[in-house]
């Protein structure tokens, strides 16, 4: 109570919700026990409860599609009495647009949705809605509605998005925006595990998708200030292994190009990313490790 008196503004939150609308994920009944309409009703109830927690709370919904991403709903610009209607109408428009764009594409498997795009958009939006001056946001990080990002994601990770997703994660970390993630698919998402771990958010993979609303409201509904007093799910273990650039294998020991930090699983003569030629790597290797061992001891 005493704490609340001095920083009462902590309770206002800006919640960016990224909804995965990948049609290939939602249409495969194997991948989830939850239908898309059920999912939406859970999420709508959750969004309403967040908005009711504090009258200044703001919710922005971004749809992460298969071919495009877009803003679907912003509570600050929509009338309060028709929340669900506006959201669903915009949502439908988005799904139609997404579908039109995907006509010519043939997809094998579930495919991946554009997480990197929606994360980037969410970060831009957080930047703008908090302050007109950009310096304040990514230098000091003290913001006034407390922003956070919640990813409701089901599709598997797209390896091609790796660099972009990591860039977004580091930018969020710099602006002190936690990325919460709720994984709806069968597999764990290594991207979102790392995102939540690095930015200090919560990573959760619900066991029972029928009770999604309960998971959402108990874990992700609380603002950042109240989180300190709660026992939230702990990260189970994050996979920090890298995948090599040449075969995309996950490796726990490998060779790094000293110029561009590309990862290879075998010794190469030339770096395929930056084109530098490696000189005497083999002969040099033992001597460098000897030299380098001196540094930590001194």
């Amino acid at each position: 109570m005493l704490v609340c008196l001095c920083n009462c503004t902590d309770d206002v939150s800006l919640l960016m919700v990224l909804l995965d609308t990948n049609p290939f994920f939602w249409s495969t009944s194997k991948s989830t026990s939850l239908s898309f309409s059920n999912f939406l009703s859970h999420v709508l109830a959750f969004l309403n409860s967040v908005l009711l927690l504090n009258q200044f709370n703001q919710v922005v919904v971004i749809a992460t599609g298969f071919n495009t991403c877009d803003y679907v709903y912003d509570s600050s610009s929509s009338p309060t009495n028709q929340r669900a209607e506006t959201l669903l109408r915009k949502f439908e428009e988005f799904v139609v647009k997404d579908e039109q764009l995907s006509k010519e594409d043939t997809v094998d498997g579930i495919g991946n949705s554009l997480l990197s795009g929606s994360l980037s958009m969410a970060l831009c939006c957080i930047l703008k809605s908090n302050s007109n001056d950009i310096q304040r946001v990514f230098r000091s990080g003290s913001l006034h509605p407390q922003p956070r990002i919640l990813c409701l994601h089901g599709s598997p990770d797209g390896p091609g998005q790796y660099v972009a997703v990591m860039n977004a994660i580091f930018s969020a970390q710099r602006s002190m925006v936690p990325i919460d993630s709720c994984v709806l698919g069968v597999q764990h998402s290594a991207f979102l595990q790392q995102a939540s771990y690095i930015t200090g958010g919560v990573y959760l993979k619900p066991q029972q998708l029928d009770g999604l609303f309960q998971y959402l409201s108990t874990v992700f509904g609380t603002d950042l200030h109240s989180r300190r007093f709660l026992q939230l799910p702990k990260p189970v273990g994050v996979d920090f292994r890298a995948s090599c650039f040449c075969h995309k294998n996950t490796i726990d020991m490998g060779y790094i190009c000293s110029v561009c930090l590309s990862i290879f699983c075998k010794h190469h003569k030339k770096c395929s990313t930056c084109g530098s030629v490696f000189g005497q790597a083999q002969t040099n290797a033992p001597s460098t490790s000897n030299q380098k061992r001196k540094t930590p001891d001194t």
């Binding site: 495009t68 091609g160 990591m166 920090f240 380098k292």
Partner: protein
Amino acid sequence: MSGQTFEPSKPEPPLYYTSKHSSTRRRMNNFEYREINNGDGRRFNREAEEEEDDEEDDEGNGRGLDAWERAYADDRSWEALQEDESGLLRPIDNKTLYHAQYRRRLRSLSSSSTGSRIQKGLIRYLYIVVDLSRAAAEMDFKPSRMVVVAKQIEAFIREFFDQNPLSQIGLVTIKDGVAQCLTDLGGSPESHVKALMGKLECSGDSSLQNALDLVHDYLCQIPSYGHREVLFLYSALSTCDPGDIMETIQKCKKSKIRCSVIGLSAEIFICKYLCQETGGSYSIALDESHLKDLVLEHAPPPPAIAEFAIANLIKMGFPQRAAEGVISICSCHKEAKVGGGYTCPRCKARVCELPTECRICGLTLVSSPHLARSFHHLFPITPFDDVSPSTLSKNPHHKLPKNCFGCQQSLCDPGNKPCPCVVCPKCKQHFCLDCDIYIHESLHNCPGCESFSQSQSVGGSMEE
């Protein structure tokens, strides 16, 4: 200072500035508070790490306080004002100015790195040499040169490790004509900052040669693929050397040590010569914010000069995070710890933190996010093109989207006139100026390109 010939490139503010300044303050009080707040807000933000200022900022941008109630934070506030045509004082419209500055920087960066395959020196071994001679006590920087320098170095060290996660920094101080190693090369920002803050006292002369000799000896030991760099923060106007400094400079040149100097007083020939010979940069700080900019310029990795470091493949390990609750003895502190460690994949020794080197087998241990932190240097996003209002009025059928693609903010003035905005050359989406800066300086992703799967597949093949 006596007997030395130099060109003072930084004018000391003459005395009458103070009187003029106080009259400016008095006149300013007659204007709207809002305007003053805007001007001051900019200055506050520049010095965002000062907590006092942050608190002020938080009070609704100081709107709750009158101008005379606010803390006196800025000692050159007149520089944020300009006279308009009717002779009134106005705060300089800093937004467009700031943006223009940033565009220039961006363009110079992209032009210097021609070609798609840029080589950058991503593994750097940098010694920061802090001059703590008598001159560092000068009070032209408030409260004194050394305090300001220490503050900037602290910010720099954090930024440096953010951008160069696999690099190492060491600190050296010059005092009483003797160079002393404060911290060895290492990768932990906290230990460097602590060591520097504990040693902030100055005396005696400064010696460039002693410092160079010391750093040269240390940097000769590092592996050949590392980039050897020295950054001097030089307050003194002279150097008091035991021997021939020219020989030392040639020695550094031969060992491919890139020396850069940031001066706090005036340009000195020997520093300029040192930087020219070794391929570094030499600059003089005009005031505190300029010093900050100059110091932070050294944080991004410099373009690699092929001969400076030999490209090499380094064997590295990616340790798994050990499961919670497992008890084992870590090799770095030699203590039994519960959970939360990493296991070296080669010798299975336990280490506490990454990145580090395994104490047992010498393998460099990193995690994949550490490597990913550097990737934006390698895959930079293209600068956006300006969309000026004049080109829009010429061909009105070229439709301008209403909102910024990134933040959905309207791209129009309250008067429904189009604001200056930028367009991504790849995905043709429009962005506002704030998003433009954020995208290029912090995010390193174009939200437009990332939001369309077609462009994704083009870039994706190269990225992973």
